[in-house]
């Protein structure tokens, strides 16, 4: 089955391209201290707002810092935020979805009403409100993005559990006396992993977009820590003189989100159709 997956995946050009983009980002984040040509927070007031040149490939910002170096370090931030925030969403979503689908009845009704209520809020409003109270910091952002984006995964996992719990192998497990916890986590959950994986890959893209929007508004990752979003804030402040501050970080966000989306859809298309609804 795994061999079939790889065969289908490697034939899908977009998926492979997406995978390459994501892999590149990992390498860049990992090697940031060696790849970055300058110290990302080194201020040099003699080099303020220089356009791209051979010394500073992507120009410098309003404090004379090298934009390329800041973007390379920024890749680390978005990778971190994407993975941790999505991890939180996956944990909450999977647990709630599993309980909801497995137990049904009152538990299901309460959890699903809660999902409905959460879906009524414009997510960005909710995130903004919480962030402002919690003080913006990278950890708070990850927690808040994660805890406001689990609803889709809950519905997905619930649907999987409802159909899986009626299968014969679950009845067999119950017949030999397996506990609820064992049935949920050992027998059903592995079979629902495929769709969770796809949702998580797409979720990382969403989390990175949200983080950059928050940082852009000044309530995300705080300077001097470089993030693609807060470089764009500087771009907006200097919109009439320094186009490079706006152009390149956005391009990086676009490529990253595109990469995760292509990878996620590629995985979905390559999975065994029996595992995906």
């Amino acid at each position: 089955m795994r061999a079939k997956f790889w065969k289908r995946f490697s034939k899908n050009k977009l998926a492979v391209l997406g995978g390459c983009i994501v892999l590149c980002l990992f390498v860049v984040s990992l090697l940031a201290p060696w790849l970055a040509p300058y110290d990302p927070s080194e201020i040099n007031l003699k080099l303020v707002l220089l356009p791209p040149s051979s010394a500073h490939w992507l120009g410098t910002d309003q404090l004379g810092r090298d934009v390329l170096s800041r973007m390379i370090w920024g890749a680390r931030i978005s990778l971190k935020v994407g993975f941790v925030a999505t991890g939180i969403a996956v944990i909450i979503g999977t647990l709630l979805g599993a309980f909801s689908g497995y137990y049904g009845g009152g538990v299901d009704a309460i959890i699903m009403r809660f999902v409905d209520i959460m879906l009524c809020f414009p997510t960005f409003f909710l995130i903004l409100a919480v962030i402002a109270i919690l003080e913006p910091s990278i950890w708070n952002i990850m927690i808040v993005i994660g805890s406001t984006s689990w609803m889709g995964i809950t519905r997905l996992v619930r649907a999987d559990f409802i159909s899986l719990k009626k299968r014969d192998f679950i009845l067999a497990a119950r017949a030999v006396g397996a506990s609820d916890a064992r049935i949920i986590f050992v027998h059903i959950l592995p079979n629902a992993m495929a769709s969770i994986l796809v949702a998580a890959t797409l979720g990382i893209a969403g989390a990175i977009l949200t983080e950059s929007a928050l940082s852009f508004l000044g309530i995300g990752v705080q300077p001097p820590t470089p993030s693609w979003g807060n470089i764009l804030t500087a771009g907006k402040d200097n919109i009439d003189i320094a186009w490079w501050l706006s152009f390149y970080p956005g391009l990086a966000i676009l490529a990253t989100v595109l990469g995760y989306n292509m990878l996620g859809e590629g995985i979905r298309d390559s999975l065994d159709p029996r595992l995906i609804k």
Binding site: I117, T123, F124, L128, I133, S212, L254, N261
Partner: protein
């Protein structure tokens, strides 16, 4: 509907009150002379010293009378007034962009389904894929640089020019439209990709149905088959999607109104969040959720009106 509404008020309240920090911190931390007593007095004034459930009950009682309390900001105006004066521009902007989404996404979706696997279909697929990934605030910056700074065709902030009051009616209207072009275009862009993709999938599914084959078999022109028989049925589910896109549009208004300095509800929300103006933030969070609920309700009702199959007899 009612349980949802109650749930919404609980979440609004919980979000604002269970988190650490207090609005009085904001007013006193700038002032080192503020004594503990003064802080206490402030807390009493805002009823923050009472138990949480009492605060919630008094908030919800006022809410039932559409009283959202008074703003913590120095002007101490009623929250409802502050929101109401800014709500119309946000709603107008969102309706305009919703209209633009419908007018462009539906034809794109239909055409790429009818001409499946042609150059046009591939082109729109690429467009949709990129559209999903583009950070719209970045696109806003690029368009501001292009049309506002380099070409100087469009203004990049506010909804009126400084000399607005002195312009004749016609010129004033043109002025307003010029200010609205970029925000509406960008806010529509966010929803465009999703809806056109959805429309395409719907259309492809409908075209495969038996009754479409029947229509073709009895010799109807392809145009009639596609635009009369198939389109009608493919359009139905779109109503629901439009209802579901309301929270996204409203949420997006924070970003656009902040970038373009548009004095709407989104900008008020951003400023209130920055100032920790709890009553305003709670009020807008609540109104945003209610607008979403309303959008879904309208979608459900119009779906029932449009589709005879789900009408309850």
């Amino acid at each position: 509907m009612i349980p949802l509404l109650i749930g919404i008020t609980v979440v609004c309240f919980a979000v604002m009150h269970l988190a650490p920090g207090s609005p009085t911190d904001m007013q006193t931390q700038m002032n080192p002379k503020a004594s503990l007593e003064a802080k206490q007095r402030l807390r009493q004034m805002y009823e923050l010293d009472k138990p949480l459930h009492q605060q919630y009950l008094s908030w919800i009682k006022k809410l039932a009378r559409l009283d959202l309390g008074k703003s913590f900001s120095p002007d101490h105006r009623p929250v409802a007034d502050k929101i109401l004066e800014r709500l119309p521009i946000t709603i107008v902007l969102n309706i305009l962009s919703m209209g633009l989404i419908i007018l462009t996404a539906i034809p794109i979706g239909v055409l790429s389904a009818v001409y499946q696997d042609t150059f046009f279909d591939r082109l729109t697929s690429v467009f949709v894929f990129v559209g999903f990934a583009v950070p719209t605030f970045w696109l806003a910056l690029l368009l501001m640089i292009l049309f506002g700074v380099n070409l100087g065709w469009l203004p990049i902030s506010g909804i009126r020019s400084l000399n607005y009051e002195y312009l004749p009616a016609g010129a004033a209207l043109v002025d307003l439209i010029k200010h609205l072009i970029l925000p509406v275009l960008l806010s529509a862009f966010g929803g465009l990709a999703g809806l056109s993709r959805y429309m395409r999938a719907n259309m492809l599914e409908v075209i495969r149905q038996d009754y479409i084959m029947t229509a073709r078999a009895k010799g109807l022109a392809e145009v009639v088959v596609v635009y009369k028989h198939a389109l009608r049925n493919a359009l139905l589910p779109v109503i629901t999607i439009l209802g579901l896109s309301v929270p996204g549009l409203i949420g997006g208004s924070v970003i656009f109104e902040t970038i373009f300095a548009i004095p709407g509800m989104g900008q008020l929300f951003y400023m209130s969040v920055m100032a920790r103006d709890y009553p305003v933030v709670m009020g807008i969070l609540f109104i945003g959720a209610v607008l979403t609920l309303l959008g879904n309700l309208i979608a459900d009702v119009s779906y029932a009106l449009a589709d005879p199959r789900i009408r309850v007899s």
